[in-house]
Symmetry: C2
């Protein structure tokens, strides 16, 4: 009995229809990246576990897919640990490699390993799958694509501005209306400082991150629970209720944070980025948002997040500046900034809002119906000529029933079929049928190409 | 002490230079596939071990990279086997998934699993990495790319012809001179039959496969060793020394194989394919070659192999017809034919023969040198305009030393840099420097784009 085939939980096959749409998204994004001088790299699916472990927290270590060593892998395992079935400690003895968990750590590893070949600032993009042994659920996969763009080796704020321009262009190109939220880790540190709770930065940001969801009152309650003094909470209120334009908010914030060096630096950075963005042709709204705190332990300056306006789906792109990404691999004091486009979520938005231009679904432009060996062989020649002129052409390979051939053309969204029987062969013509309208025309072989360039 | 980063043996990073060249190869190949109506699919990196095991022989099973189950994986392992350290039998208890070993088995699995969504004949291409725990050596990697094109669900020889056209176009496009070798499994079966050794088909083909390398005498010795009668070996001689044109060889072979039904069918198939190819505009030489026996246990009709003429590197593309690929997954009697382009070998040939067109190495077209914040901010605006007009433009993000900025532009092969100081800002111009010739010109901002479209 043959096995019924299936694929691992949380993984996906991509059919031609899906591939064409995904490639449209990736190609659109890549084209923008390239217009700004970013270059592609790729890293191996497998990394040494040394490279991966300890970079994503304990939870992340558990979610790494580990590769079993080849050959007699149990040979090196400890008898005692095997007898105790201590999976945790045996893992390191029977596995040395894992599948990449994100593109950031491999990128840091790449930069350190190739530092002498690269010219800095190094501007790269990378679009590859990553793997996580997460519990699969709707919209969350065990294999999914990341699409990262980073510049490393420059602390100029021009880079932050450029990433905002890129986000703007990508989503305009794709037709997704978005807002870009902008914050700065230094501002958050300044706030914690001036309310006298510098050591509680994480608690504070975790709480105010929920402002939109749970409201001011509950945020204050949570802060109180976490042990913030009433004084600190009272001092935080005007910050939480900042409103108005970006520049209005910045002016208020500058006053509030005047006594904090790091906070003032953060305000200056935000102001410079927003001023430069205003001077450029950026159509997407950029909103200062103090509640934005993603990846706080990691980012050191700007923090970005992009939200779709016409669909509830959370963040579809995000990133920020990090000052010591490569330090873990021994290259210190290299500042970088980057963003990651959420390919799967963008795919979901494009599908739900039906944002693909019509040409994205078209495939073969013309199919020759096969009436028999002699007629088919004749069509092969015409097809070869038309392909030389750049047309996408198929000859149906079997002289199957007309209905079957037409169904094939329909399913594949082929716009025109050519019917060539003995009569057409003798006359040097084809009968061209528009599959959309059903209209049929007799066309000379040499005039076929013209009907497609009209 | 920070770790010195490295990647697993037999895997590779691809730098921007390499990526650009590899993408050129893949894009060229894809464009040809699409012109013939082939559509892309992708399958997950991980497959269930059920899907993979037993499909590549015992050796293949050993070379599969297996993924360790998540969580407390030892829990399900047998105490006795663990105590004996029986790696072989423990594997199946602690691992359920493996990395794909080729694209063929996942494709068969895909076709069976999605048979109700697909329209047949199904024409697909697939370009993805595969993984094998082979001993790494020069030119052999543990992660490498395959690039497969197949049509499944049609036994028309038009498909074989189309694949030859595709090979011809791909290698003409890439500029690699090749010869296409063609054989047919049915002819080999016919030969074994008429010399009275039908059961020794494999021994015979393994021996004659070496004809070119070791010569006729040694081939005969090997056949004798394998137990072929002197009668059989004598009867084989005229076949081994067939010469002349394809049609000459076919005429001789037709005579020799006249009493074998399967052999005669094979000759007819070869003749039809070669006749059709002759009638089309195929420039690459197609040579009938009876010594070609690749993947014999697998192919049932045509067998293809492509060799580069200007470099000794073995086969760079190959394939054939298989009549029961999907049978292992329960879908019987579906015939297909396909070829696989050896991406890594093609990459090696392109590199060694330096076959890339000059535009493949170009990246950013124009870089603005950064003389300071004010000048840089001014350049950001000009750069944004130029990108809108389709140019690939960078603004160097830091106001670093001139030499550093120029070195960056040089290393990245940027053709032009623009110098914009206070004077140029006031005059609405830029000083455009051709990095190749060193020539400098003052150009109005609105005329920059024109100098690139000349």
């Amino acid at each position: 009995m043959a096995q019924k085939p299936s694929i691992p939980k949380g993984t996906r096959d991509f059919t031609p229809d899906e591939m064409v749409r995904r490639n449209y998204i990736f190609d659109s994004i890549k084209e923008v990246f390239q217009r700004y001088g970013y270059m592609p790299i790729e890293t191996p699916a497998m990394e040494n576990l040394d490279t991966l472990l300890g970079k994503y927290g304990d939870e992340g270590d558990k979610l790494l897919f580990k590769i079993l060593n080849s050959g007699d892998f149990l040979n090196k395992a400890d008898d005692g640990l095997l007898a105790q079935k201590d999976s945790n400690r045996v893992t390191g003895q029977i596995s040395e490699k894992g599948l990449r968990y994100d593109l950031t750590v491999p990128f840091a590893r790449f930069v350190v390993q190739h530092q002498n070949e690269l010219s800095f600032p190094f501007k790269r993009y990378q679009i590859q799958p990553v793997w996580r042994a997460d519990r699969p659920q709707k919209g969350r996969y065990r294999e999914f694509f990341q699409c990262d763009v980073d510049v490393i080796g420059s602390d100029s704020l021009f880079n932050e501005v450029e990433l905002i321009q890129i986000v703007d262009e990508v989503f305009q190109k794709l037709g997704i209306r978005v807002v870009i939220k902008l914050n700065n880790r230094k501002v958050l540190a300044g706030i914690a400082e001036i309310i006298g709770e510098a050591s509680r930065l994480t608690d504070i940001t975790v709480a105010i991150d929920k402002l939109e969801k749970i409201g001011l009152e509950k945020v204050n309650a949570e802060l109180s629970e976490k042990g913030l003094t009433d004084y600190a909470i009272a001092k935080l209120q005007p910050i939480l209720s900042l409103s108005g334009s970006n520049s209005g908010k910045l002016d208020q914030l500058a006053n509030i944070l005047v006594s904090s060096e790091v906070g003032t630096k953060g305000v200056e950075e935000l102001r410079e980025v927003l001023t430069l963005v205003d001077s450029l042709d950026v159509e997407t709204g950029v909103e200062m948002d103090l509640t934005l705190a993603r990846g706080l332990n990691y980012y050191t300056g700007a923090i970005f997040e992009v939200k779709a306006l016409d669909m509830q789906i959370g963040s579809i792109t995000g990133g920020g500046r990090y000052d010591d990404l490569t330090g873990i691999f021994g290259l210190k004091n290299v500042s970088g900034v980057g963003i990651s486009f959420g390919a799967d979520r963008i795919f979901d938005v494009m599908n739900q809002l039906e944002l693909y231009p019509p040409e994205v679904t078209t495939t073969t432009q013309l199919m020759f119906v096969n009436f028999g060996h002699k007629e088919g062989a004749h069509c092969l020649k015409i097809a070869a000529q038309l392909r030389n002129e750049g047309l996408k052409v198929e000859v149906y390979p079997d002289s199957a029933k007309m209905k079957k051939q037409m169904t094939y053309a329909n399913k594949k969204n082929i716009a025109f079929v050519a019917l060539v029987g003995e009569e057409e062969m003798n006359a040097g013509t084809v009968t061209l049928k528009n599959m959309g309208t059903g209209e049929q025309n007799s066309v000379k072989v040499e005039d076929i190409i013209g009907t497609f360039s009209e």
